[in-house]
Amino acid sequence: MKYALLIYGNEKNWAEADDAARTQAYAEHGRFGALLAERGAMRGGEELAATDSATTVRAAGDGFVLTDGPYAETSEQLGGFYLVEAADLDEAIEYAKALPGDLVEVRPVVEYTEQ
């Protein structure tokens, strides 16, 4: 099965992190990526820019309303994601635990099979 590992965190911490902390965080992601590659589990992933650069587009009547900022204003925001291949939820949870970051939401990806 394919799973999305959605990484949530407090953007303020990242914005205020010094160079050493950032270098360390990227090194941890590098190690995590290597672990996935070694297991043949890596299916993609990206770091997202901070939500102060986000634009929310909402359908309204026959037009659209644009808002500056993320869909939901919460202290924890989606900061990036990985797509992984895992045998089952237990393996996906194992990857989530190995991820640097305090809060990871594990979501199965809907897969379409030819019938």
Binding site: M1, Y3, D88, L89, D90, A92, I93, P108
Partner: protein, 403 residues
């Protein structure tokens, strides 16, 4: 007399469901097929007699029913995600004994990715074979609510890929904890009902004891399983003495100890002795030792409170639980006097806000010290927080005794 089909259903449900779920990789298919087979047994066995091997009969008929259903609903079923079993479907041969697949069913139903209430409902429904309406009645919710809870949980199992297997050895201790927690949740909900008019719901405690026996049969070497069974048996054995004729609560010290089920206490002590043979301690082991200390006191005055207080102190260090601290304070009050007990209750107000047992304990200890005003205030606070009528009546009566 119970219909033989009902007997066979009760005796074999968990094993047959577990096996069918593995074969068809779907809890829904297994459940529906088994319901079909049961209906056929109700109709057929009365006329043609009970088959020599009722379990094998139910399995064969359930398989045929599953095949029919899958053919009929081919398009609908194709869209549903299948259970992740992690094994190739090894076809089961009808000549051998029916393999016991319940262990993986237990672990799947108690998976930590499911909400605790859903784990409890799934386990009672599939491992013990209780019907949805029975579980709904036990938890005082409507049948539709319970059915929706089960459906949502089953959907998550399939869609999220909750594995249908026994966890790897490295994960086993943590996962066994979630299983035992589910069993104990069922038990405690029965032992001290949190809602409703009755103080206890014995049928829930009884199901928990039965469920623990199944888990013990599947994992005989796990000492925590023995410890939890001992704990539950030792507490459950007191059920007839805990409630009086009017449904009122009877305190441990006032209970008629001849009404305790001696055979169950003996069984519990035996299981505890077995569990104590290993090394190290655990939460269930300590709690079972505390229950044993009460169960072996011939009279309330014979209770070894110093020993119980020491066990609670170890339990508190282990769990850090404010409820354990509360119980420890009560034991210390018995061993060293009410003032020592009261001292241990300080600092619990925030952690136990909304919990009637804290003001209730405080009230009793103040009363014993002759501090009537403090006792009255605390009883009033406890009455406002109590969740069942029985407990409210008891606390009100205690308050009136202050004069």
């Amino acid at each position: 007399m119970t219909h033989p089909a009902e007997q066979a259903y009760r005796a074999h449900y968990g094993r047959l469901l577990a096996l069918l779920a593995a074969e068809y990789r779907s809890l829904d298919t297994a459940e529906d097929a088994l319901a079909d087979a049961y209906a056929k047994a109700v109709a057929g066995w009365r006329d043609r007699g009970v088959p020599a091997n009722p379990a094998a009969w139910l399995l064969t008929v359930a398989r045929n029913a599953a095949t029919d259903r899958l053919r009929r609903d081919a398009t609908a079923r194709r869209k549903l995600p299948l259970l992740v079993t992690g094994d190739q479907d090894a076809p089961f041969t009808d000549t051998g004994p029916i393999p016991d697949e319940r262990l993986r069913l237990v672990f799947t139903c108690c998976h930590p990715a499911l909400a605790p209430a859903a784990r409890v409902a799934l386990t009672l429904r599939y491992v013990t074979g209780l019907r949805t309406r029975e579980i709904a009645r036990m938890f005082l919710v409507g049948e539709a609510t319970m059915a929706a809870r089960l459906t949502r949980a089953k959907k998550k199992i399939a869609a999220a890929g909750v594995p249908y297997r026994v966890p790897a050895a490295a994960d086993l201790p943590a996962r066994l904890d979630t299983v035992l927690h589910v069993v104990y949740l069922v038990f405690t909900e029965g032992y001290r009902a949190t809602e409703g008019t009755a103080l206890t719901r014995d049928e829930l405690s009884h199901e928990a004891v039965r469920l623990a026996a199944v888990v013990a049969e599947l994992m005989p070497a796990e000492r925590d399983v023995s410890a939890l069974r001992a704990l539950m048996l030792l507490q459950h054995a007191r059920r007839d003495a805990r409630v009086d004729d009017t449904g009122g609560l009877v305190r441990l010290s006032d209970q008629d100890r001849t009404a305790w089920h001696r055979d169950e206490i003996a069984h519990g002590l035996e299981l505890l002795a077995h569990a104590l043979r290993g090394t190290g301690e655990s939460r269930y082991l300590l709690e079972a030792q505390i229950a044993a200390a009460h169960a072996t006191a011939g009279k309330a005055e014979d209770t070894d409170w110093a020993h119980i207080a020491a066990l609670y102190a170890r339990l508190e260090r282990r769990t850090g639980s404010p409820v354990v601290r509360l119980n420890r304070a009560v034991a210390v009050a018995e061993a060293d006097g009410p003032a020592a007990g009261l001292a241990l209750l300080t600092g619990l107000d925030e952690a136990l806000a909304g919990h009637h047992l804290l003001p209730a304990a405080r009230a009793e200890l103040h009363a014993r010290l002759g501090e009537t005003d403090d006792a009255r205030t605390a009883f009033t606070a406890a009455i406002a927080l109590a969740g069942t009528d029985t407990e409210r009546r008891w606390l009100t009566a205690r308050r009136e005794l202050l004069g």
